[in-house]
Structures are given as structure tokens and as C-alpha cells.
């Protein structure tokens, strides 16, 4: 199964890189852009059916791909 994992900063965690991107967007005239948060996107291929893959992906996210202290995660499983 192909999988896509999205790791994002929890609300309230400082995101200086997101802030810098927001300032850059404003300086380019995109004044309508707000609340920019920079996260991570990870693609991978997982063995097993969709249910097995989802269970394993959840484990992967909790153990390694995201740091629960500062990050949230979600993933999509599918071909």
C-alpha cells in the first residue's frame, strides 16, 4: 500500500520558520496569507492490507515519525 504521512506542529508550538515564510509571502504581495505553519510530508510503501497498514503506520508515527511533545500526525493509506 502507498501511504502519505503528514506531520504538523501542534497548535501553540512556536514555528519561527512558518513565521518567516509568512513574512516572505507578505513581502511578495500575498497579504491574504495568514497562520503559516511548516510541517513535514513523508511518502512510503507499506506491506499488508489497508487495516494492517494503518495500524502499523500509527505505530510508526508514534515511535518515530512524529514527536508527540510538539507534533501531530495524520496519514492516508491507499493505492
Amino acid at each position: 500500500m502507498r501511504a502519505k504521512v503528514y506531520v504538523t506542529l501542534k497548535a501553540g508550538v512556536l514555528d519561527p520558520a512558518g513565521k518567516a515564510i509568512e513574512r516572505a509571502l507578505h513581502s511578495l504581495g500575498f497579504d491574504e496569507a495568514h497562520d503559516v505553519r511548516l510541517g513535514k510530508y513523508i511518502e512510503l510503501r507499506v506491506e499488508g492490507d489497508a487495516t494492517q497498514a494503518a495500524n502499523r503506520l500509527d505505530d510508526m508515527c508514534r515511535k518515530l515519525l512524529a514527536n508527540g511533545v510538539i507534533e501531530d500526525y495524520r496519514f492516508e493509506v491507499g493505492d
Binding site: 512556536l14 519561527p16 520558520a17 518567516a20 515519525l65 514527536n67 511533545v69 510538539i70
Partner: protein
């Protein structure tokens, strides 16, 4: 007593840490990341650098190395673990210390000498210092901004686990004296049982006058004193405000 200094792929300050220990007359051995044995050392140092390239997150991959399994068990048994810079990041990722270290507030890698105040002296890592001593210590990091949720921060304060704060030369923990945006100016913390210590400044780069100062030597002396003379008695103290 004997010190062990871990080398992960990407560690940079492992040799410097051993050099500093040598300069202080402390015997040390090298510990390899693939080695599960800690070779009977009394204190494990996790040095600075970019373990495993700091891929994914700083310290995230080092935590799964074989030596870390032994370090986690060693810490659970009360062994002393001393994490410097990347070592601090590894300790947070391992769950041996609470919170996390994220990108510096100004997005820049900072290489500078800063002032830090010793907040607690009844710990194995700080007993050689006087309370509220102001130290000049080098920092060099891109991800040194300490964050934790409000409940964790309050717990750290209530249990007096904040051992080191960024301050100005007069010892005041001001916003201007905070180099990286760390919450509550936190530069170093310990765990509830006070046998694991992590800090972003580099005491191993501050043990010889020739290299700019000796203010970092006290951390190593504290560990030596603790292991030879026992733990200092815990004192009740008023938590210093910001």
C-alpha cells in the same frame, strides 16, 4: 570512577568531551553507538554534534541505537547521564527528559558565549557551584529552543528541575539574554530523580583558561564529588523567579 563518552555517527564533540575530562584528570572510555555494553562506567556523556545527520528531528534517530537501550536502562537504575547539546536533544527524544528542542527563534545557527545561572545546587551535576552562580559558557546550535506544554513547565519549576537558565551578565533572566527563544529561559534541566541532566551550552568547551574560560568545569567536578562523597542533601529553596 570512570566516564563513558558515546560516539554516534555524526557526533562532533565526543573527542572534545574526552579531552576536557582528561584536562580535569578524569579517566574516560569511548562508547560506540553499536555497543550495548557501557563497560562499567559511572557516568555516561552524550556529546554534541549531529547524530545520524539530525535527519527527521535532532536526536530522533540516535535514540534507537543499541547503546541508547543500555543508557535508558542505566538511567532507570539510577546511573548518571549527562547530555550536552545534541546529547540533550537525544535525551528529550528518548523520553529521559521532558519537553523538546526546536529551531532557534531567529532561525539562525548561533555560535556565541552566553551567561547562564545555576538554579539548583543539590544535584549530582551542579553541587560544585554556588547557588545562582553566573557562568560564561559557549553555545553552538541551530535547534536549542526548549519547549514543553504549560503543565510540564510548571512541573519542572515545582520540582526544581530547571538547573540552568540563560541570563544577562548580572544574572537576570531577561528576554534579551535568551539566545534561542527557550521557554522560561531554560538552558538545562534534570529528571525527577535527578540522575539525568541535559543542557544546550557546552561545558566541555569551558574547562581550560587557554580556550576562553573554566566555568564549565564545575559540572564535571560535581559528578566526581557526588560519586566520591555521595549526593548532596536536597535543600528547600524558593524557586527563583524570572
Amino acid at each position: 570512577m570512570r566516564w563513558g563518552v558515546v560516539t554516534f555517527p555524526g557526533s562532533l564533540d565526543d573527542a572534545d568531551a574526552r579531552h576536557a575530562l582528561d584536562a580535569l584528570g578524569e579517566p574516560s572510555v569511548a562508547l560506540w553507538h553499536k555497543d550495548r555494553s557501557l563497560h562499567g562506567v559511572d557516568c555516561v556523556v552524550l556529546p554534541g554534534g549531529f547524530s545520524y545527520g539530525d535527519y527527521l528531528r535532532a536526536g530522533a534517530l540516535a535514540r534507537f541505537s543499541p547503546v541508547m537501550e543500555s543508557v535508558v536502562r542505566f538511567a532507570a537504575d539510577g546511573g548518571l547521564v549527562f547530555g550536552i547539546c545534541n546529547g540533550f536533544q537525544v535525551l528529550c527524544e528518548s523520553g529521559l527528559l521532558p519537553g523538546a528542542l526546536i529551531r532557534n527563534r531567529n532561525l539562525s545557527f548561533i555560535c556565541a558565549t552566553v551567561h547562564c545561572r545555576v538554579e539548583e545546587t543539590d544535584t549530582p551535576f551542579t553541587s560544585a557551584y554556588s547557588q545562582a552562580a553566573v557562568l560564561a559558557l559557549p553555545i553552538k546550535h541551530g535547534e536549542g529552543c526548549y519547549v514543553a506544554d504549560p503543565a510540564t513547565l510548571q512541573g519542572l519549576e515545582d520540582n526544581r528541575q530547571v538547573l540552568l537558565r540563560y541570563v544577562d551578565a548580572a544574572g537576570r533572566a531577561t528576554e534579551d539574554a535568551n539566545p534561542n527563544g527557550s521557554l522560561r529561559n531554560i538552558a538545562g534541566i534534570t529528571n525527577p530523580t535527578r540522575n539525568v541532566f541535559g543542557l544546550m551550552p557546552h561545558p566541555e568547551h569551558a574547562v581550560e583558561a587557554l580556550c576562553g574560560g573554566v566555568d564549565g568545569a564545575g559540572f564535571f567536578r560535581s559528578v566526581r564529588l557526588t560519586l566520591s562523597e555521595g549526593l548532596p542533601a536536597r535543600t528547600a529553596s524558593v524557586p527563583p523567579g524570572l
